[in-house]
């Protein structure tokens, strides 16, 4: 008896360092052994195993889908950014041309990448996987509204945007509609881009365009102040609102300084010269 106990003790101690691995490895083996003796426990184990293989399938499928959605979203982000850069390439001379290309690029993003996201989502899990595709959609909203603003001077509404997405969805599934939250978050980012655009326009002397941007951005900021606290994840939005205010003020300050300094030069330039009211410098080109 004593011998047995010490032997047992030895075995237990020897196996201590790799106990977990050992025990886990032996699980199914011991399950087989028990099967002969205890029918209830076998039942438990097999139902546990069945259950977990179901959960494993579920998790695998969901994770794969999420991964594909993330990839699609990343592509949307990347290509939407390109559209935004394209818009920034505009100057006084080539505005039409540059914007036409931007719109064309945007259509390509919609047709190629956004439609892939729609395909991956297959009309389900819009809210469940929102975190996975939200960054891409926000960037897309930003690009689309920026293009639209430069073209028409107005805000592209969510309904108008969603209307363009309906043909991309398979009619048999629920179509992907950009949700309010992503749209608003995208608009918040739009301000940053418009700020850059406004600064660029001012340095080229297009003050009217800059002022147009300024009042547009002000209007968006004003409307969003009412909405921001009601958002689902308002902490994120709060931060964006602060950045947005910074952008609005940057545009306003730029407009202000050009306005103040520009006015000093105008009498010198005379009313006939309309091309350089701001800088008061001769044309280099």
């Amino acid at each position: 008896m004593l011998l047995y106990a010490s032997k047992l003790c030895f075995i237990v101690m020897a196996s201590k360092p790799q106990r977990i691995r050992h025990l886990v490895g032996a699980t199914w083996q011991s399950a087989m052994k028990k099967a002969r003796t205890m029918s209830t426990e076998t039942h438990t184990e097999s139902s546990m195993k069945d259950g977990f293989s179901k959960y494993a399938d579920y998790l695998n499928n969901l994770n794969d889908k999420r991964e594909r959605v993330v990839k699609a979203s990343r592509d949307i982000t990347m290509n939407s950014k390109k559209v935004i850069f394209q818009v920034h390439r505009m100057s006084k001379q080539n505005k039409e041309e540059v914007l036409d290309k931007a719109v064309k690029d945007l259509t390509a993003v919609t047709d190629q990448y956004l439609s892939r996201l729609i395909k991956e989502l297959q009309g389900t899990d819009f809210w469940k996987l929102r975190r996975a595709y939200s960054p891409g959609v926000q960037e897309y909203v930003e690009a689309a509204t920026l293009c639209n603003f430069c073209k028409t001077g107005t805000l592209l509404t969510l309904d108008e945007m969603n209307a363009t997405l309906i043909p991309l969805s398979d009619p048999s599934v629920e179509p992907l509609q950009i949700n309010i939250l992503d749209y608003i978050l995208g608009l918040a980012d739009l301000t940053g881009e418009l700020m850059r655009l406004a600064i660029g326009r001012i340095s080229e002397g297009e003050l009217d365009f800059a002022e147009k941007i300024c009042s547009f951005v002000r209007e968006i900021y004003r409307n969003l102040t009412l909405i921001a606290p009601e958002m689902d994840d308002s902490s994120d939005m709060k931060q964006k609102m602060e950045t947005m205010l910074q952008s609005v003020m940057k545009i306003e300050n730029a407009c202000f300084s050009v306005h103040v300094r520009g006015s000093e030069y105008i009498p010198l330039l005379g009313p006939a010269d309309t091309s350089y009211p701001l800088l008061g410098m001769p044309d280099i080109e």
């Binding site: 179901k54 107005t154 309904d159």
Partner: protein
């Protein structure tokens, strides 16, 4: 504020007589300007100026209505979803207080109260939970397809519910309660308002946290077979969890913590076994187990 606006406006026109606007805009600007200068002293004209400025200036007039309307719609929508969320939170708080009651009664197992009695008391609350979940699913029915938009508001409460149900089920039967069984106990229907698999699995991890303490107290109370049973169960559970490919998320973290529960139970088992307590405790343990069921 009004004077600030006025100053900006006037300085604009007085200092900067040559505006940089397109032709069409100049004409509208000029007419406004003339009318306002002619009535300079009247406060009314300032207020009209102010309102056009506030409404987006001269540039957005045709579209600003559309813009305003859209944002107004957004506000309505968000207010509604905010109300919905508040109602969900109210139910979730009630669920939380019920789970506290259940947990408090379940804690008596650590004080060696008979399992049957403990479970009986805890079970009496399950009906309340069921009722609360049916209220929750009714609220969610109002916004079809948006289950996961609000999921975060009842997630952690549900995880606790799962862990308690699983612990009770284990005390009763020695088996792991399955996902479908939890849904059944709570009266949930997978098509309408199901139990999220992640929530179920996290709840199971929570339940495993309770086991080391249970084992320690059972041994102290003289049930020397308990460590063997718990160790077997926990080993199987751990092995089953290893079948899952987890992401680097909360569930993964919880699962990683499970091995410490396993180790603790192993240590208790080891302590009992090395002293030969399990050998002579086996029969009493069996008897107790029989007495419990």
């Amino acid at each position: 504020m009004i004077s600030a606006f006025r100053n900006t406006l006037f300085s604009h026109y007085l200092l900067n007589p040559k505006p940089f606007f397109s032709l069409l805009l100049i004409s509208t600007q000029k007419s406004t300007f003339v009318s306002s200068t002619s009535s300079l002293c009247k406060p009314r004209s300032h207020s009209t100026f102010l309102s056009t400025l506030m409404a987006g200036g001269d540039f957005l007039n045709p579209s600003s209505d559309k813009l305003e309307k859209q944002f107004e719609d957004f506000r309505h929508h968000l207010e509604e979803s905010g109300n919905l969320r508040e109602r969900i939170r109210a139910v979730a708080t009630e669920i939380d207080s019920v789970t506290r009651l259940i947990y408090a009664s379940l804690l008596l197992v650590h004080q060696s109260r008979p399992v049957a009695e403990v479970i009986e008391k805890a079970k009496s609350q399950i009906g309340v939970l069921k009722e609360l979940y049916s209220r929750l699913s009714e609220i969610i029915r109002e916004c079809p397809g948006q289950y996961y938009r609000y999921h975060g508001d009842w997630k952690s409460e549900t995880q606790t519910v799962v862990s308690l149900l699983a612990f009770m089920h284990w005390l009763e039967t020695g088996n792991l309660v399955l996902h479908s069984e939890v849904e059944e106990k709570l009266g949930l229907t997978p098509t309408e308002f199901g139990l999220d698999v992640d929530d179920y699995l996290i709840g199971i991890c929570f339940m495993s946290n309770e086991l080391p303490r249970y084992v320690v107290n059972q041994v102290t109370a003289g049930d020397y077979d308990c460590p063997r049973k718990v160790l077997k169960f926990l080993t199987d559970l751990h092995a089953a969890f290893r079948m899952l490919n987890l992401r680097n998320d909360f569930l993964r973290k919880k699962f990683d913590g499970m091995k410490y529960d396993l180790r603790k139970v192993e240590e208790v088992f080891y302590d009992v076994k090395i002293r030969g307590l399990a050998a002579n405790g086996d029969s009493t343990g069996e008897k107790q187990a029989q007495g419990q069921s």
